[in-house]
Subunit: 349 residues, 2 copies
């Protein structure tokens, strides 16, 4: 999908070129910023009412509610920026429950002196991501802090959607024999941010995979509503997600090492920086756990979606070593993939 | 309501005394912080599942959804702190629609080096405010940024509740002749933060009014579901709220200056700092616009609630000067109460 009109949209003319403390004070300057920068891009009938809360139609069904704050550094990186990352991140957290994401809130913390040109570029990127995912930004808040009290801008997005009655996806639902399907290559987002931050360059640019996965999930739920577990492996990477699954379900997870796809340039960046791609954040990938008899059909449906075209079965659930994730290496050894202790990559999202 | 067990709750023992970057990485240290600091205080069956989203029962009815980010400086001030402010602020934004707030998300941005003792104190305060309001914190997120990239901590809260079918409160519903009821004294919160920041001391401490107003609103809706407009006058103060009402409804607002209550010490602080209390943030007050034939009964119901005991009718809606808020002073003059241009008080909430 293309939005040429958005990409060529000029920076609106405001009284100031940069964010002032007064833009966070709720007065005329706040309103100018909201009306020129935010409203034209996020416009919908709910947001337009400019109340302190959005009043939304309720179709019934359980509600999936999530929140995420974005502090990524740098705010622009190959393949994305803090804006589309913030939309896609919360869209993904919602849809991993099987819910169809509908409504988002956006909370900005802006540093005094931030150029409106920068803010506008990020808002355009948020608009595009929200349109692509088919979600509405229905309520928001902006705070401005004095220079040096935050790093350019931080964004919180929260949101919700509705879960069909027959969908019950949970980290504690893994069954022995289940297959583990990964929707594509690992570590693209984390390494895009890291190489961008470190100023490393490769023959081909390492690009973030940031994307909203809700349409892919909708296709998957057509195969079966009975996906056992599903998650987007962001901070902490696939290793952390699978460890949490193994612990919650009290089962073991056996990975087939040769099957885990990593792009060549991403693998190269990981080797230079001494980072294991299993622990690196992804922002447009999901891992799904499904019954073995449905696994091939699910894999086919995922491959039919652009965001799942590189999907692959990477392992299975076992009753050996409960609570442990193990990876059979190409040399035939079986090593434990432990939960990481702490930070590999600060401010990755 | 008292929570002595919470107030005497000792700081949990963690591997580190202060927040490390690793506490934001989603690994073992993140889990330690979540399990020792957040979960014991916010615990409920939904949050305990530790999924990336909360799955919530949906009773039907329209949904009121709101978000707010808190960057108040200092983080502790007389009468409250950034924690209860963050809970009460979003509770109030939700209930001003007439909705009963039910579920909140919390997103923290923590500065590397923040003492866990400080975080724990704030979390206790959030717990108490959430219990008092009767809302559940069902999902959350924590980011850690390197030292100097934020100022101690920032908190986003988002949340929602459900609006009864017969309630339609909106800034655009003001009718000529309506009465304007204020639930108590003005400017307490803003001046508590300002005097605390400036190190000013008065004979009696200026204390914030931070409070969740949802129980007061529930009492008001028993008088009539037909409250025309309602809002908590936070940033920009009562002047901003009423200007927004006048503009949305295309009516004039006439205030009776003598009736607007301000505590003596707050008035003194305003005079010293040269600040008009009409423009100062409140965090535990509401202004409601109701039909004249119901105004006295509504006032009585509000006065019966501890948070509305100082309620007073401060003005009325007029067809003169549409879009304009005017205040009749004690000297008999009628001055325009304009929308503020920008910042009087940065980082007040």
């Amino acid at each position: 999908m293309d939005f040429p009109e958005a990409l060529s949209c000029p920076v609106p003319i405001l009284t100031h070129d940069t964010v002032q403390l007064a833009h966070g004070a709720g007065g005329k300057l706040s309103n100018e910023m909201i009306e020129k920068i935010f409203l034209p891009r996020f416009l919908n009938a709910t947001l337009e009412k400019m109340e302190d809360q959005a009043i939304l139609h309720n179709p019934g069904g359980r509600i999936a509610f999530s929140t995420d704050t974005f502090v990524v550094d740098p705010i622009f990186f190959p393949g994305g920026d803090i804006g589309d990352l913030a939309i896609n991140g919360t869209v993904n957290d919602i849809c991993m429950s099987g819910a169809a994401p509908k409504y988002l809130s956006v909370g900005f913390i802006l540093e005094e002196g931030l150029p409106f040109e920068t803010l506008h570029r990020i808002v355009l990127s948020m608009e595009k991501a929200a349109r692509t995912a088919g979600v509405q930004i229905v309520t928001g808040d902006t705070k401005v802090v004095n220079r040096g009290s935050c790093d350019k801008l931080f964004i919180n997005t929260s949101g919700f959607g509705f879960v069909a009655d027959n969908v019950h996806i949970s980290a504690s639902n893994l069954q022995v024999g289940d297959k583990i399907i990964l929707s594509g290559t690992l570590a693209d987002h984390g390494m895009a941010v890291m190489t961008s931050r470190e100023g490393l360059s490769f023959q081909s640019v390492v690009s973030s995979d940031t994307a909203g996965l809700n349409h892919l999930v909708a296709e998957m739920l057509k195969v079966t509503p009975n996906i056992h577990a599903m998650r987007d492996p962001t901070r902490g990477g696939l290793a952390t997600t699978l460890n949490e699954f193994a612990e919650s379900s009290k089962v073991g997870i056996q990975l087939y090492g040769n099957n885990i796809p990593v792009k060549d340039n991403v693998r190269g960046a990981c080797e230079i920086l001494g980072i294991d791609p299993l622990y690196v954040a992804n922002e447009g990938k999901l891992v799904a756990i499904v019954a073995p008899d449905i696994a091939e059909e699910m894999l086919g449906a995922m491959k039919n979606n652009a965001l799942g075209k590189d999907s692959v079965i990477i392992g299975e659930v076992t009753d050996r070593h409960p609570g442990i994730v193990a990876l059979r290496t190409s040399l035939g050894a079986n090593r434990i993939v432990d939960m990481p202790v702490g930070e590999q990559l600060p401010r990755i999202c």
